[in-house]
């Protein structure tokens, strides 16, 4: 994941576009590990430090 930012140096735009098309074909809503393998999206885990968003919103709670 830490190498993701360098992918455009290794792959051309056409290459990355093909990866994106393949991903879209299998996982159109990009719900499985978004931002893990391909550049473009931030992994949700990185923007959510601290309690789970649902916990923050008061929907779930710890014992």
């Amino acid at each position: 994941m830490e190498k993701k930012a360098f992918m455009p140096e290794m792959f051309s735009e056409a290459d990355l576009d093909a990866f994106k098309r393949i991903r879209q074909a299998i996982d159109p809503h990009e719900i499985s590990n978004r931002g893990k393998m391909l550049p473009g999206h931030e992994a949700p885990a990185l923007s959510h430090s601290g309690p789970h968003p649902l916990e923050k919103a008061g929907i779930i709670s710890r014992m």
Binding site: K3, M7, M10, F11, S12, A14, D15, L16, D17, A18, F19, R21, I22, R23, Q24, A25, I26, M37, L38
Partner: protein, 359 residues
């Protein structure tokens, strides 16, 4: 031959790309003797035969897809290296691109892995005419999807392969090929299972329908006799010398070894499932060979495609057609089809290349 038949031999990637962009149906011709359907742009990659990069000390080789497999094998051989997956059915027409598209591996896949384990990088032109480079030129590479493996066995239905990088191995010092003959298929099969569970690292392990087990060992010459004795102890009988010549494996697996007429099928199997395959397919086939320790079954049959497809469906098996007078690529069950159709849509949305499943 039809008047409109023309073999296109692009010399540059740009030419190849524009041919693909303009065409409505594309077929790849690596064999001069194979006919192509009408309204088809038939491509030959004869303009792409270069060895792009070969660094023996790195144990990798990058070649263009039109390079002949036999040429690549001899270039490697000069440096004491080889492709351990033992590409089968190789003749003077066989190209690297065709080899990947077919995806076959020979008996040598038993020890070090099959074709897909040796392909590190791949460049291809997709159905939109985009040049896509995937994988890399080094053994340790994990960036992006492993598209090179996806293209192995795709039968040129997802794109036109233009270049590939392989991992290669040093040639073993010596080979020894031995034969254990059994009275029945069942007893040969029992020995194959026992060997699969044993500590032996066999270069190749093939079983035929008569129950003969053919084993190839490779390594240091002074260890051979000891290893063969240990094998005899495990199997409980003595061996026959089959041949000291490594080429017996490739010649025995050439298409010529199976009858020219009829159908040759490749069925993915397992060491345990081949027992059922042997029992069920015996009445419908003329020759059966279980290779790579039982993980690949080569079945030759004189029956019709239709009949075989129905039978395989009933047995929940799929087969790739290696040769035969038919336009079908895969028969039997089509479980992976949902996945294949999506990938096909992503890489070849206009359906310019063949489809490996029936419409």
């Amino acid at each position: 031959m039809e008047n409109d038949f023309k073999l296109h031999e692009p010399q540059t990637i740009a030419e190849l790309q524009s041919l693909i962009r303009e065409a409505s149906i594309i077929s790849l011709n690596t064999r001069e003797d194979s006919p192509s359907p009408p309204n088809t742009i038939t491509l030959s990659l004869s303009g792409f035969q270069k060895i792009v990069e070969y660094q023996p000390e790195e144990y990798t080789i990058t070649v263009e897809a039109g390079a002949k497999v036999s040429d690549v094998i001899s270039i490697l051989d000069e440096q004491g290296q080889y492709l351990p997956f033992d590409p089968p059915f190789i003749d003077k027409y066989s190209t690297i691109g065709g080899m990947i598209a077919n995806g076959y591996s020979g008996p040598g896949g038993n020890r070090y892995g099959i074709l897909r384990d040796f392909i590190l990088g791949l460049t291809f032109i997709d159905g939109l005419g985009n040049r896509i480079k995937t994988g890399g030129k080094v053994v340790k590479n994990a960036a992006g999807f492993d598209v090179p493996k996806l293209m192995v066995g795709s039968q040129a239905s997802l794109g036109v392969i233009t270049e590939a990088t392989f991992k290669v191995f040093p040639l073993p010092e010596t080979y020894r090929t031995i034969l254990f003959r059994f009275d029945t298929f069942e007893s040969g099969h029992a020995a194959l299972l026992a060997l699969g569970r044993s500590r032996f690292t066999l270069d190749a392990l093939d079983l035929d329908s008569q129950g003969s087990l053919v084993i190839r060992l490779s390594g240091q010459s002074d260890s051979m006799d000891v290893r063969i004795q240990a094998l005899e102890t495990l199997i409980g009988r003595s061996h026959e010398v089959f041949s000291e010549d490594k080429s017996i494996w490739t010649t025995s697996l050439k298409l010529q070894a199976f009858p020219q007429a009829g159908l040759l099928l490749k069925i993915p199997s397992s060491p345990t499932s081949i027992r059922k395959i042997e029992a069920e397919l015996a009445p419908y086939s003329t020759q059966r060979r279980y290779s790579i320790g039982g993980f690949v079954s080569w079945i030759h049959s004189d029956n019709s495609v239709c009949e075989l497809s129905e039978l395989l469906q009933k047995l929940d098996l799929a087969a790739q057609i290696v040769s035969g007078d038919t336009i079908e690529h895969v028969i039997g069950t089509d479980h992976p089809r949902a996945f294949y159709d999506r990938i096909k849509q992503a890489l070849d949305p206009q359906r310019k290349f063949a489809n490996i499943y029936k419409k």
